[in-house]
């Protein structure tokens, strides 16, 4: 290991950044760095604990982004689509597909190591990425196992079961590291199963705590479900972990589970050291449309109606945008961000009131949005400069069916999407109004959103184009056709004096940057 002092010149660095100490170049991440990630890293799924997916880097600007070019592409040579958010730590990128992790040198774009597990059972629907704690990576397999690997070479240290695949669970989540907790969520709504969140010890994998979203299967009038498959966010000053939960089961038949079905389709605040519930807000009481509320709970400090507030924002699958006070879970604003036709309005607590006439029925109910929802796992971004919450939305319509013969187990019905399109929407969080929108194609786009301090929004359309938009008005400033639609969310970091934006589509990882040698702008900050 070498001690290397970096001197990095960057244009217009925000003053909020900490000075970097002499850097130990190694495949190791001090968990304290997760509290204040530096711009030369992307150490967790969201980049930082806020979930804003907003970079302070300003080297790429609306004026020069037209020159953005390909630095390198990494081909995984396999057919699963990359859905993971990569990590960048000390110049090494780590990203995944089910059963596979690649470690790639972010300078050359070449592989350092590749881990491939033996074939596993369980649903291979996707893989969100790894978590990192000191020298170790944490990775979920489709069969409900969590493995810990050496970040230097991908060798497996241990494997523990965090979910029982034989019962119908599977795992895709990127583990979230908070202090000395490795926090893992689970999946599984083809069966009537209790959804939960589990924290394990980073050295041994032993369970520290488990929080159950729903009561055990078979509880009279109770519900099951509430899966936890997207990484949450964390506020260190409040010491609160925020996580979204999934839909109840049986999915389309709400009759066996009357009432609100707590805590499915909810945003919950947990104590990360004990797993105890501190508060909960239910985004979809008594959901019957499979609208998981697992979407990113974005943490924003700002003004709301003239008052400074610690807020939590979620653009949710059910078509509503929520702004909450994250200290106590009280609703500040609830507004639709696309066509919705399933509610009777919003109640005094800010929760949508489901219309019983729009529950699935034998002869079908026409529902907006469709089952994939007004948005899904793709990350939104909050841009502090414009105050805009930017999300890849999916206005859509569908028909939902259920009848007695469909039973009380698992899906218990059928739903059919009819039509949908993709629209990048910039929502003013203070009013819920959409300030600008940018159409991204028929069928909808699976691309997440990244914003930058210089005023750029990076995302993708339904046709495989990576887009750089002007964050003020949504106009396209740059694009590149990558041959497959993005199913992940972009990241950005600084390396060797260049700002990189990383996107993936299909089985390929793309690194974009301005061409030419390192920039050394006037008045740059060094650290």
């Amino acid at each position: 290991m070498k001690f290397v002092t970096h001197r990095i010149a960057l244009a217009g660095l925000a003053s909020a950044l900490a000075m970097l100490p002499p850097v130990l170049v190694s495949q190791s991440l001090d968990p304290a760095e997760l509290l204040h990630p530096t711009v030369d890293s992307w150490p967790s799924y969201h980049g930082d604990y806020s979930g804003r997916r907003h970079t302070h880097l300003t080297q790429i600007t609306p004026q020069n982004v037209g020159n953005l070019s390909l630095a390198w592409a990494f081909q995984t040579d396999q057919t699963a689509q990359i859905k993971s958010s990569p990590l960048l730590v000390d110049g090494v990128l780590y990203f995944t597909v089910p059963e596979n992790i690649w470690a790639v040198d972010a300078r050359s774009g070449h592989q350092i190591w590749h881990y491939s597990s033996p074939p596993t059972t369980g649903d291979h629907i996707g893989q969100r990425g790894v978590g990192m704690y000191k020298d170790w990576l944490f990775f979920t397999l489709p069969d409900g196992n969590l493995i810990s690997l050496n970040a230097k070479d991908g060798t497996v240290r241990w494997k523990v079961e965090v979910a029982d695949v034989k019962k119908g669970y599977w795992t895709t989540v990127a583990p979230l590291i908070v202090g000395d907790h490795v926090i893992v969520g689970v999946s599984g709504d083809l069966d009537n199963l209790t959804g939960y969140l589990r924290s394990v010890d980073p050295e041994t994998g032993k369970t520290q705590w488990q929080w159950d979203a729903t009561p055990p299967a078979g509880t009279p009038h109770g519900t099951t479900g509430g899966m936890t498959w997207i990484p949450g966010t964390y506020d260190p000053s409040l010491n609160l972990l925020y996580w979204g939960t999934g839909n109840p089961t049986p999915v389309l038949n709400g009759n066996p589970r009357p009432g609100d079905d707590l805590y499915t389709c909810s945003i919950v605040a947990l104590n990360p050291d004990t797993g105890k519930l501190v508060w909960a807000f239910q985004v979809s009481p008594h959901d019957t449309h499979d609208w998981d509320a697992v979407e990113v709970p974005v943490l924003v400090d700002g003004f709301f109606h003239g008052q400074p507030r610690k807020m939590l924002m979620q653009a949710s699958r059910n078509g509503y945008f929520f702004v909450l006070d994250r200290t106590d879970g009280k609703s500040l604003l609830t507004a639709p961000f696309g066509p919705v036709n399933w509610t009777l309005g919003v109640d005094k607590q800010g929760r949508p009131i489901p219309n019983p006439d729009k529950e699935p029925a034998r002869d079908g109910r026409f529902i907006a949005p469709d089952e994939g929802g007004m948005t899904n796992f793709r990350s939104p971004s909050f841009d502090p400069k414009t105050g805009l919450f930017i999300v890849d939305a999916h206005p859509s319509y569908s028909i939902y069916f259920t009848k007695a013969a469909d039973g009380n187990y698992g899906w218990a019905g059928a739903d059919y999407g009819l039509w949908g399109k993709g629209v990048i929407e910039a929502i003013d969080y203070k009013t819920g109004k959409i300030r600008w929108s940018h159409e991204v194609g028929s069928g909808g786009s699976g691309a997440g959103v990244l914003t930058t301090d210089s005023g750029l929004t990076f995302t993708g359309d339904a046709y495989g184009n990576v887009l750089a938009l002007d964050s003020e008005n949504g106009k396209t400033l740059w694009h590149a056709g990558t041959g497959a639609p993005m199913q992940s969310s972009p990241i950005s970091y600084e390396l060797d004096g260049h700002q990189y934006v990383i996107t993936s589509s299909g089985g390929v990882m793309f690194a974009w940057r301005l061409p030419g040698s390192s920039y050394a702008a006037k008045g740059s900050a060094a650290h």
Partner: protein
């Protein structure tokens, strides 16, 4: 069996000596742990296969010292086509269906349900006409290989034997579903008969006749579609193509059906079937998309309107 180091060895023997213990006597594999190797030459080049044999993969050991002659013979053997799968009945076919079930659960169940009866966004395959008409995978394999991109089904690069196994599983599930009364999910024609045909005719005359005619284009529509398919087509006939007229800088106009459209490129097929495309920055274009009339109604329909329309359209036989 010993491999001779000097005399030439057949590829079949090399396979039997080194590979069969995991990959099966007939290259059928033992999923999920040991992949089948039938048709492996369609998935990988000889170089890729050699790489895996020499360096191993996952649980598979490396055969670094395998003599080149033997390796060459083995590669030739692996490229030979399989004997067709055993006819229905007996251990072989239930093994095949079991192997297919394992693949189905990993790759298909999320959308199509574990029992192929439909799940998150994916149709009930046990009610599918295509599945009913399929013989030995002749129709299903095409859908698996190409996907249905317009309906968001991805393409899957399975080997021929893997596809046979999935096809066997789907047919088995379809047979089970038919024989299991009351246990099926999905939508029957009889489920969709709650509307009033007179009210449907009134709605049709008030909202649809600017483009459609019950005695013209929609005459006999209920003989062409029924049940859920009719309702889906009624609400949004997704296969209908739009037209576009492109005006070039010269003023010349070119018309055709839309072949591709994003924010940067517009493309059409002209009346002769020629494909032409232009950068949008250089041309003007005008879409003729009557299908948008359907989209405009989405925000206006009540469920009663839809059921009534269905009742009316079903009279157009």
């Amino acid at each position: 069996m010993q491999a001779s180091s000097t005399a030439s060895i057949s590829g079949a023997d090399a396979y039997a000596n080194h590979c069969a213990i995991c990959h099966g006597d007939n290259r059928e594999g033992d999923l999920p742990a040991f992949p089948p190797l039938l048709g492996i030459n369609h998935q990988m080049t000889d170089e890729q296969i050699t790489g895996i044999i020499r360096t191993g993969k996952g649980r598979m050991p490396a055969f670094a010292k395998l003599p080149q002659e033997e390796l060459t013979a083995l590669l030739h053997f692996l490229a030979t086509s399989s004997t067709p799968p055993a006819a229905a009945g007996g251990d072989n076919s239930s093994q095949l269906s079991e192997a297919g079930g394992a693949l189905f659960r990993q790759n298909c169940a999320f959308c199509h349900g574990r029992d192929a009866q439909g799940g998150e966004t994916g149709p009930d395959l046990t009610r599918s006409k295509l599945v009913r008409r399929d013989v030995g995978g002749d129709r299903i394999s095409e859908v698996i290989r190409n996907g249905r991109p317009e309906k968001k089904m991805p393409a899957f690069h399975f080997s021929q034997q893997e596809i046979f196994s999935i096809v066997a599983f789907i047919h088995e599930e379809q047979a089970k579903a038919v024989s299991r009364p009351g246990g099926r999910r999905g939508v029957d024609v009889s489920d969709l008969q709650t509307g009033n045909a007179d009210a449907g005719r009134q709605y049709f005359n008030g909202n649809c006749t600017s483009c459609h005619s019950a005695t013209g284009d929609l005459a006999g529509v209920a003989s062409r579609y029924e049940g859920l398919q009719l309702e889906e087509q009624m609400l949004y006939p997704r296969d209908v193509k739009s037209k576009v007229t492109v005006t070039l800088p010269s003023g010349q106009q070119v018309s055709g059906t839309v072949a591709y459209l994003d924010e940067f490129t517009v493309a059409l097929r002209d009346a002769e079937g020629n494909y032409r495309s232009w950068p949008i920055s250089k041309v003007k274009y005008k879409l003729d998309a009557p299908i948008n009339g359907h989209v405009e109604l989405f925000s206006k329909y009540t469920d009663a309107d839809i059921h009534n329309l269905m009742a009316y359209l079903q009279t157009l036989r």
